[in-house]
């Protein structure tokens, strides 16, 4: 680290000023620690899992292990697995969009609240749900949404409904709870970005006659695209790998790849198949994320935003 920081910081001003041919600059070395961390603690162990997914057993502990495609073939043998992959991506996408829609106004309010107390209160409201712990929080949602839960009991006693609404044991309940978990991630990511947008730009637009909506659509929203990109990627990545929430909230209706992976590891003890499912999920989601990154990255006009 010490020897890294010296060259990293001696960025000469001149070459940076020529945007035509960007040479790899010295600060690129700062990627070192992260790269090291990922290679040793992710690539290497994940490589072990990926290797297990093409083997008949675990060569570290048994003999006579050979290469096989059986675990990948199994994925295609029954359409249930593919359906689970589609459901995973669908739930991830809906959760991301919903988190953005819910998170943006709150992030905007936080970024534009000037009173210190108001701001601190808002920050608490955002951070507090994150620290409840995923399992406990999901149980709280079950208490709210289940057939005998708070919402249904209240509506029933007021005579507004005659039988409990199907609020959980389905995809709806799963997404509600997932959105609740991931909205704070969206809010905190967006706040930093919106907070940096010069308010005078908005005021200028308004004084030039743009109404609130137009100011938002033409000034604030485009400038917050980097935050939207970052927040959506985080939420998408998190919700496609979520396990506890779909498991507890989805009942028999929801089946996602992470649920299947947990079953394979924890109850079927088939590490090869679990590894294969992991490889499939990771590959598909990387493709989705790189595509999204490229599209929105170009849209936001930042070629190196990534």
């Amino acid at each position: 680290m010490a020897d890294l920081s010296a060259p990293a910081l001696s960025v000469p001003a001149a070459p940076v000023l020529s945007p035509r041919r960007p040479a790899v600059s010295a600060i690129a070395w700062a990627v070192g620690p992260a790269l090291l961390l990922f290679v040793v603690f992710f690539i290497l162990p994940f490589g072990v899992m990926a290797l297990l997914s093409v083997l008949t057993g675990n060569p570290a502990i048994q003999s006579g292990v050979t290469f096989t495609a059986q675990h990948y073939e199994r994925f295609f043998e029954d359409s249930l697995y593919f359906e689970a992959l589609v459901a995973t991506l669908r739930i991830g996408a809906i959760t991301t969009v919903a988190s953005l829609v819910i998170g943006y106004p709150l992030a905007h309010l936080m970024a534009r609240t000037h009173s210190r107390i108001g701001h601190a209160l808002l920050l608490m409201a955002v951070i507090a749900p994150m620290l409840t712990g995923i399992v406990v929080r999901t149980f709280a949602w079950m208490t709210l949404l289940q057939d005998r839960g708070v919402i249904n009991t209240t509506l029933l006693s007021w005579g507004l409904i005659s039988s409990p609404l199907k609020l959980m044991y389905n995809e709806f309940g799963t997404i509600v709870a997932l959105v609740h978990i991931y909205v704070p991630f969206m809010v905190l990511t967006l706040t930093g970005v919106i907070g940096r947008i010069d308010e005078r730009l908005e005021q200028a637009a308004r004084s030039l006659g743009a109404n609130r909506t137009r100011t938002f659509l033409e000034v604030t929203l485009p400038l917050s695209l980097p935050g939207i990109l970052a927040g959506s990627l985080l939420v998408f990545a998190l919700s496609i790998s979520a396990y506890v929430t779909p498991f507890l909230m989805g009942g028999t209706d929801v089946l996602t790849l992470p649920m299947l992976i947990y079953q394979q590891v924890g109850a079927s003890f088939n590490l090869g198949f679990a590894g294969a499912l992991g490889v499939v999920l990771l590959a598909v989601s990387l493709i989705v994320i790189i595509a999204y990154n490229n599209v929105l990255g170009r849209f936001a006009g930042g070629e190196k935003m990534a």
Binding site: A60, I61, Q62, L80, R148, Y169, F247, D253, G266, F269
Partner: protein
């Protein structure tokens, strides 16, 4: 089933140690001075008694330290560790997982009575060929129900299919829960030609829809207590533990028999402290230890010599007559078909 050949030398050695131990009449184990015994054990109330009382007493008596892992899942961790240097010496798990472990060759299929003298006092069901290792406790899986919903006490497994219970009956996620798996086999028994009649079981399962499914028994307990379900598959311990509280829940033993949910101990073949491992199993089978745990968590003890207090005696399976009502599923058979069953039941229950 793949039969695992136990390393003969280690068995001889262990046997010799056991003999020497018996001869000395002393509970001390040679060379166990600084030994560490690595075990798995449950959390909750069970874990409190183990960590607060039973394990420290074992450590003092055998002059060793016990490292008790309570973090699931145990089997994948054992699976990943080298055979010659396993992460556990004694595996505590339910029967279905133990048979899987036997199949992988990561636990010894049987416990030799020479090494564990208390085995002579256990009920036959605890060491028969449906069991890998030894079952130290069992609970009975039957039907838990609410007493304030106008339901009569259920008498048969078929009562769960009562149309009145639509959407208010509870079961388990079959791929991950052994109670759910046992119940599926029971459906084959009740509605078909036997525990292995899967077609009948699938049909019966379909008829139980809509049903609320849970991951583990604690969740079912809470669902019963909060009236989210009014009748569900559960083990006796999960209901009896509320005895003496005002909760309107009770447990019913179906006339067709209750399913055994066994707490099984096995020893890993690569364990470096096998004498200590056997001593631990023997310790867990001692009448006083069994009584303490049985009365703390309402598990039926395996040792025939245990004298339970009246209120436990009335309910737990602790006489030959009562034990005869326990039905032990054939887990070797089930495990061999698990993948196909998982797919099928997931499809049946979806939507």
């Amino acid at each position: 089933m793949t039969t695992i050949k136990p390393d003969r030398r280690s068995i001889l050695k262990a046997g010799a140690a056991g003999a020497a131990l018996a001869a000395l009449g002393a509970p001390h184990i040679a060379n166990a001075q600084a030994a560490t015994l690595k075990i798995t054990t449950w959390g909750g109330k069970w874990g409190e008694i183990m960590k607060g009382d039973l394990l420290p007493a074992f450590e003092r008596e055998f002059k060793c330290t016990v490292s008790a892992d309570q973090a699931f899942p145990f089997l994948p961790k054992l699976q990943a560790s080298p055979r010659g240097n396993p992460i556990y010496d004694v595996l505590h798990a339910n029967s279905n997982e133990q048979w899987k472990a036997v199949e992988f060759g990561i636990v010894e299929p049987k416990v030799d009575p020479k090494n564990v003298p208390n085995l002579k006092d256990v009920y036959p069901y605890a060491i028969n060929d449906k069991i890998a290792g030894v079952s130290i406790f069992t609970s009975g899986i039957g039907l838990g129900y609410r007493t304030d919903k106008g339901l009569g006490k259920p008498t048969s497994w078929k009562d769960l299919a009562d149309p009145k219970l639509a959407g208010q009956r509870g079961g388990y996620l079959i791929p991950v829960n052994s109670l759910g798996q046992a119940h599926l086999m029971m459906l084959g028994q009740i509605y078909g030609s036997g525990m292995q009649d899967l077609d009948a079981a699938y049909k019966a399962l379909e008829a139980l829809k809509p049903i609320k499914l849970f991951d583990f028994t604690g969740q079912m307990e809470k669902a019963l207590l909060s009236a989210e379900v009014t009748m569900g598959v559960i083990h006796d311990s999960g209901v009896y533990r509320y005895e003496g509280t005002p909760e309107p829940v009770d447990f019913a033993l179906p006339s067709e028999g209750v399913l055994a949910l066994e707490q099984v101990l096995t020893v890993t073949p690569g364990s470096k402290v096998k004498e200590l491992a056997y001593a631990y199993i023997d310790y867990m089978l001692r009448p006083d230890v069994q009584k303490k745990l049985a009365e703390a968590v309402w598990y039926s003890p395996s040792n025939t010599k245990v004298q339970l207090d009246a209120k436990y005696d009335a309910k737990l399976f602790n006489t030959p007559e009562k034990v005869a009502r326990l039905i032990q599923p054939d887990w070797k058979w089930y495990n061999a078909r698990k993948d196909a069953i998982d797919l099928r039941v997931t499809r049946i229950l979806r939507g």
